[in-house]
């Protein structure tokens, strides 16, 4: 999402952690319900991102990269040094979400993994649908303009700073929402879980899948990155090496990510088949740029 506005944030995991800690604190210390803490965590994360964004978004490019990575590295230390939040050992026994009543259906207790799955699915849909709506509105076009050409965006009246802040807030709030879910799903949190490597993984998902598409890219990327290491388990010790090698090969041969294959195919086909093109509906699905 931030990639769209031409900024790479290395602080995603930090906001994920802030969401997780905020939600845990609300449930354990303030004894509020999970169903209140979940959106509250997103809002708290978003507000923090607003404050932080004012400081870091002013320096686009390299400065932003460094500043967000500092935030990403500091966050673990910050949480670790707050005794009230469990210090470096973290917090255990975070209660699972309260049972939930769906009308005409019955009580949904969070005892097995299935309700979690559906909750995650619902959150995922909420986030994806909201971002889809944004990408296809003037806000999304302003983001795209900034990402493609910030100077030109300014000269057509786009407040580059404002739109970058908005993107930063929304991306962080989404991360906070996921963080809240994560804390209550795993049942424990500790500061080391939110280090910068988590962020780098997130970016690998997006870049591997293809940065040309706002949604399908990250989704395909994360599917592959979740299943590929699993299927390479046969050689457990060298699994990270294999994954790494695979990534490097992909970067070299498919700089556009997995979705870049479609573009490649277009190039190869063109001279032979003349007008061979991807069918319009697939194109529409793939390119949320328009």
């Amino acid at each position: 999402m931030m990639l769209r506005t031409g900024l790479i944030s290395l602080g995603v995991a930090a906001f994920w952690g802030i969401g997780a800690y905020a939600s845990t604190a609300l449930v354990l210390k303030a004894e509020l319900s999970f169903w209140f803490a979940l959106p509250a965590a997103a809002i708290i994360t978003g507000m923090l991102a607003w404050a932080i964004g004012y400081l870091v978004v002013r320096n686009p490019g390299f400065g932003f990269l460094i500043l967000t990575s500092i935030i990403g590295m500091l966050i673990g230390l910050v949480f670790g040094n707050i005794k009230w939040l469990g210090g470096f050992t973290g917090i255990e026994y975070i209660p699972s979400p309260d049972p939930f009543v769906i009308p005409f259906w019955g009580l949904i207790p969070f005892t097995s993994k299935i309700p979690y799955y559906f909750l995650m699915l619902a959150l995922f849909l909420v986030v994806v649908l909201s971002f889809w709506a944004l990408y296809n509105s003037s806000t999304g076009r302003a983001w795209m303009a900034i990402g493609l050409n910030p100077h030109l965006a300014e000269s057509i009246g786009v407040n580059v700073f404002k739109y970058r802040i908005i993107a930063f807030i929304l991306a962080s709030a989404a991360a906070g929402l996921e963080g809240s879910f994560y804390a209550h799903y795993i049942g424990s949190i500790n500061p080391n879980a939110f280090n910068i490597f988590k962020t780098i993984n997130v970016h690998i998902y997006a870049i591997l899948g293809g940065t040309g598409s706002a949604f399908l890219g990250p989704i395909i990327g994360s599917l592959i990155m979740t299943f590929a290491p699993e299927s390479l388990r046969i050689a457990k010790e060298i699994e990270p090496i294999l994954t790494g090698a695979l990534l490097i090969l992909l970067m070299i041969f498919l700089p556009g990510g997995i979705l870049g294959i479609f573009d490649l195919r277009q190039h190869i086909w063109k001279p032979f088949a003349g007008n061979a093109r991807i069918p319009q509906w697939i194109k529409k699905l793939l390119l949320s740029a328009e």
């Binding site: 806000t139 303009a145 493609l148 100077h151 030109l152 300014e154 057509i156 009246g157 786009v158």
Partner: protein
């Protein structure tokens, strides 16, 4: 006397110790085409960059339609109604020509933020209307056949024309064109010049920085000559070509040694 669109008073811009523009006074009148010429490094583009908010002036004042716009940011100047094109083709290269113009309608949305987010029927209608108006601008500039081509694949001349379309899409009151015909062949130049006069005939005020003398002489109502950041001449084109100082600036002083 026609109204003054833009007033520049005692404007200076320094880069370190170097003054790119110094003590410049300049008026742009309503619905005129003003040409700004001068040798390389005379400060013409710097002048445009200061007016359009990309640089803030070191001293002096810029007043547009009675509002002081000195030191405003580029997007605020654009919102005030000044639109510009760039010397090098500055487009969203990967987008189609139509999307380029459509994206430039950024300031034209009137429906509320939430309506746009929720894609209510009024927001969708508005988008359709703006897309239509983007298409009309392309038609006006004779680019409608190329609307689905990616901007990066257009010829140099088409890209320049497209960038004028994009500047028009922001509904400006003043259009600043930075070298609109540089690097084109004579046929392309003629097309662009015709288009610029057509834009003016709709009541637009235009200022042009250009190296192509013939184009400037044919097109502009009034010409200002800059040299070393200072105005050395101002007037109709006949007065300019006969001006001794201008000839010296371009050809050098005659010295007897």
């Amino acid at each position: 006397m026609r109204g003054v669109r833009l007033e520049v008073r005692d404007l200076s811009k320094f880069f370190g110790g170097l003054s790119a523009v110094s003590h410049l006074d300049l008026d742009i009148f309503d619905s005129e085409i003003l040409g700004v010429i001068g040798p390389n490094g005379a400060g013409k583009t710097t002048l445009f960059n200061v007016i359009s908010g990309f640089y803030s002036p070191s001293r002096g004042k810029v007043v547009f339609d009675g509002h002081d716009i000195t030191g405003l940011k580029a997007h605020q100047v654009a919102q005030a109604g000044i639109s510009r094109t760039f010397q090098i083709s500055n487009l969203f290269m990967s987008l189609s020509a139509l999307s380029n113009v459509f994206t430039c309608h950024h300031m034209s949305y009137r429906t509320g933020m939430w309506k746009r987010f929720l894609h209510t029927s009024s927001a969708i209608e508005e988008e359709e209307r703006l897309r239509q108006s983007a298409l009309e601008i392309l038609e006006f500039m004779g680019l409608d056949d190329l609307k689905n081509e990616p901007a990066g694949k257009l010829t140099h001349g088409q890209q320049k024309a497209l960038s004028i379309c994009m500047a028009l899409a922001t509904n400006p009151k003043l259009l600043l064109l930075d070298e609109p015909v540089t690097g084109m062949n004579p046929a392309e130049i003629q097309t662009i010049l015709n288009l610029i006069s057509r834009i003016r005939s709709r009541g637009m005020t235009i200022a042009i920085v250009e190296h192509n003398m013939q184009a400037v002489m044919n097109l502009c109502d009034r010409i200002i000559v800059l040299n070393h950041g200072q105005k050395i001449a101002e007037g109709l084109h006949k007065e300019i070509i006969e001006n001794q100082e201008v000839i010296e600036a371009y050809l050098g002083k005659e010295e007897e040694e």
